[in-house]
């Protein structure tokens, strides 16, 4: 597990460099990625399917990214991108394509369907978390304006 944590931290930070995030955000990116991968990995180890695991993990990554984005006043995408890279079904998509080009169509379609489901779950996690975040923000501002009116 410790190896997983360290490697996910390094991998996410590496991707941060490839995507050219601001220098002071690289460590935070790695942190977000590590936490996301920890959630995903421990769920998969408990034999939970990869799709719900991706959803939950993406939700938390996005929530954490919103917190960071607000605190450091940077666009939220900077942290989300790094965080979700380990979850993204790149390996599956690759496997599917490899089966396609070697004429194993039924396996390929199965894998591709799985990959798109996982991608959908990640996107859903991000969108849900965004909606959640916005609702909280709105609630806070409504309460503030009510107080002011009183």
């Amino acid at each position: 597990m410790i190896a997983q944590l360290i490697t996910s931290f390094l991998a996410t930070s590496g991707f941060g460099i490839l995507f050219n995030v601001p220098k002071n955000a690289i460590i935070k990116c790695g942190l977000v990625g590590m936490i996301g991968w920890f959630i995903y990995f421990s769920m998969v180890e408990k034999r939970i399917d990869a799709v719900p695991a991706s959803f939950v993990s993406a939700f938390f990554i996005s929530a954490l990214s919103h917190v960071f984005a607000k605190k450091y006043k940077t666009p939220v995408i900077i942290f989300i991108v790094g965080g979700i890279i380990p979850l993204v079904p790149g390996g599956l998509a690759y496997d599917a394509m490899r089966n396609f080009v070697s004429n194993e169509y039924s396996i390929a379609i199965e894998l591709a369907a799985k990959a798109s489901l996982i991608a959908g779950a990640i996107a859903m996690g991000i969108v849900f978390s965004e909606v959640f975040n916005n609702t909280i923000k709105q609630g806070v501002s409504v309460r503030k304006s009510k107080k002011m009116n009183e």
Binding site: P22, V81, I85, S102
Partner: protein
């Protein structure tokens, strides 16, 4: 007398109108070319326009073009378009433009200085140096081997194959400028390298090495962004990004398949 006054005011506003839409388009162009989300580009452009007093501004953003229209009582209606030809991922630029637009909204920048600053941002090359990028790609690849439950013996081949693959991608992309081709060739080379390592007995599972080292090329972000755009209603951007992701995945798969066919 009154007419004259009105005339100069119109003149001034006309000038403003041109400047405002130019500033917004430049900001949008930089953000979109650096891989910002569709809604963020639209939002930033409209926000800058509001900050400079244009009450009706609309923007329509797709991955390949921006259309921006302003309309108001004081401004003649007008629409401009900007074509985006090269798209990369450069989060630093997105962050810079974003904080600039925040400061514009607070009224800290005049139009001229904001325009100059945006031009400067566009020209600036603030990315990490190529050796560092290649090193990062290699380390990330090696780490992915472990994350995909590979063996420790496959980490070193993963690092080497990942760095070589990314290096090839960067160099070929600079010469050819066709993404599909450079992705295909680099994944082919990754496939070769991994198989050679296994053949020489340094690595164990070629599959794990390959999956780890193609990760820097894989369009994972694009796939997720595409679905996200579709969900929030940016249908055209979503479809376009999905097509791009599919093409990249196909290029990588085809490259690896050729490598396997030869070995």
């Amino acid at each position: 007398m009154i007419r004259k006054k009105w005339g100069t005011r119109m003149e001034k506003n006309r000038q403003n109108f041109i400047d405002v839409s130019e500033i917004c388009l430049l900001a949008g162009e930089i953000m979109l070319a650096s891989g910002a989300e569709t809604y963020r580009v639209e939002d930033t452009m409209v926000r800058i326009a509001h900050a400079y007093g244009v009450e009706n501004a609309e923007s329509y953003v797709t991955p390949t073009a921006i259309i921006f229209a302003v309309n108001g009582e004081l401004y003649p209606a007008g629409t401009k378009m900007k074509r985006i030809e090269r798209r990369t991922t450069d989060l630093n630029k997105i962050a810079t433009v974003n904080s600039l637009s925040r400061e514009i909204s607070e009224g800290k920048w005049t139009m001229e200085s904001a325009y100059e600053r945006l031009k400067q941002i566009k020209k600036e090359n603030i990315s990490f140096s190529v050796p560092i990028q290649i090193l990062a790609a290699g380390i990330a690849s090696g780490c992915f081997v472990i994350m995909f439950l590979g063996k420790w013996i496959d980490v070193l081949p993963g690092i080497v194959a990942g760095s070589i693959g990314y290096f090839c991608f960067l160099t070929i992309h600079q010469i050819v400028k066709v993404r599909f081709f450079s992705e295909l060739v680099s994944s082919l080379i990754i496939g070769f390298t991994a198989n050679i390592f296994v053949y020489a007995g340094i690595g164990d599972q070629a599959d794990k090495i390959i999956i780890g080292s193609v990760m820097p090329l894989v369009p994972g972000l694009l796939i997720t962004n595409a679905i996200r755009d579709l969900m929030v209603g940016h249908l055209i951007s979503g479809l376009a990004k999905g097509a791009e992701a599919l093409l990249t995945a196909f290029a990588i798969g085809a490259g690896i398949a050729v490598a396997y066919a030869i070995f």
